[in-house]
């Protein structure tokens, strides 16, 4: 059943805050996503997982508006993202927070000022209030003493945590997190997972976490979407995905290195081909 949204486009009834419908995408002639369909429910942690190169980051780029989406494939609260005008994008961007893999901090600003930027730009809060908010967020990610540091003075893991603090600073309704555990030691990674779940519980935040870390994924997920070569291999509760009989899901969950075999075959074929060409 369809309704019309404010801009005259179709508005679909949806179970999720964000709904992806039959999304195919790529770069030039290289197709990365194939007919991807799933919904992101409100107030839950949705984990998108799969091996490197499976299309997770491309999918994330669509969800946060960094990659153009053709009409009819990504809906936010039932409104087609492809039909968003500048005002709708502004509203959507205020609703979301994004932690990029590298943290994406401004290198010329201190860590605290990195956190202050969105608050200074988007709110009328006093500087004293902004400073308190920044310090609360830094404490939540274990960087209490590092507000005055420059990003270059932090380790990779600390930059990632600072990036998370900045992503959280506006208390976004939806928080997108790209590979939260990468570059972190197991204890810090577990602490970060705990924080993500706390954010959901305490603030009703919707989280979308992209990861290839199985342990972390199942620790935090309310819903899991497994991508394989750009296709949704499985989607559902962690229990349902864990018990999937699909051999490709089992292979991923059991971390069987089928990829290496494929890579080896490609490698040998490539080398053989070179030899053949030379002889020819």
């Amino acid at each position: 059943m369809f309704l019309m949204n404010d801009r005259g486009g179709p508005k679909v009834f949806t179970d999720g805050i964000i709904e992806v419908k039959n999304l195919s995408s790529g770069y030039g002639r290289l197709q990365i996503l194939h007919d991807v369909t799933f919904a992101i429910p409100s107030g839950k942690v949705t984990v998108i997982m799969g091996v490197s190169g499976c299309g997770k980051s491309t999918l994330l780029r669509h969800l946060i508006g960094l990659k153009n989406t053709p009409p009819g494939h990504v809906f936010v609260d039932g409104s087609d993202m492809a039909l968003f005008g500048p005002q709708e994008w502004m509203t959507y961007r205020k609703r979301i927070g994004v932690l990029f893999q590298g943290g994406a901090l401004f290198s010329s600003l201190s860590v605290r000022d990195n956190l202050a930027v969105p608050l200074r730009v988007h709110t009328r809060l006093a500087e004293t209030t902004i400073r308190i908010i920044a310090d609360i967020k830094l404490h939540q990610v274990g960087l209490t003493e590092f507000g005055d540091f420059m990003p270059s003075q932090l380790s990779g893991g600390m930059r990632k945590r600072a990036g998370l603090a900045r992503a959280m600073v506006m208390d976004p309704e939806i928080l997108f997190v790209d590979e939260p555990s990468s570059g972190l030691d197991p204890i810090t990674a577990a602490g970060l997972d705990e924080l993500l779940v706390d954010l959901k519980d305490a603030m009703g935040m919707t989280l979308v976490v992209v990861t290839h870390e199985l342990e972390s994924a199942f620790r935090i997920a309310d819903q899991v979407v497994v991508l394989d070569a750009g296709r949704v291999l499985a989607a559902g509760s962690p229990e349902a995905v864990r018990s999937s009989p699909d051999p490709r899901v089992r292979q991923f969950l059991e971390r069987r290195a089928d990829e290496r075999t494929v890579d080896q075959e490609r490698y040998e074929k490539r080398l053989t081909g070179v030899g053949v060409k030379r002889r020819a």
Partner: protein, 103 residues
């Protein structure tokens, strides 16, 4: 945001907040409270949050700022009507010791 300020005998004041305490409402609320209440140097302030429907980190920062300003004046501060969701927010920010010290 509706705000009720009740002065009591002895220079104590009770403030009730009603509605949403977030980054959009805090700037005006903060200005009003600092102008209309703190300048009169109350001896003790009770902040009733029982009618707050929603609060974010900006709301929490405002409460802490208010508490700090009162402490610096040598005045007492106490939170009342703390709902479960506000309590979770305070716990997430690990501010229980500062905000619930007299509650």
């Amino acid at each position: 945001m509706p705000l009720t300020v009740s002065w009591e005998e002895g220079g104590s004041v009770r403030i009730s907040c009603d509605g949403v305490l977030d980054r959009d409402t805090v700037p005006d609320l903060s200005r009003r409270l600092f102008r209309d209440v703190l300048k009169k140097r109350p001896r003790h302030l009770r902040l009733d949050l029982s009618a707050v429907e929603r609060m974010d980190t900006a709301g929490l920062a405002f409460v802490l700022e208010l508490r700090n300003a009162l402490k610096s004046q040598g005045a007492g501060f106490r939170l009342e009507g703390v709902t479960d969701s506000i309590r979770r927010l305070v716990a997430l920010a690990r501010l229980e010791n500062l905000l619930f010290e007299n509650s």
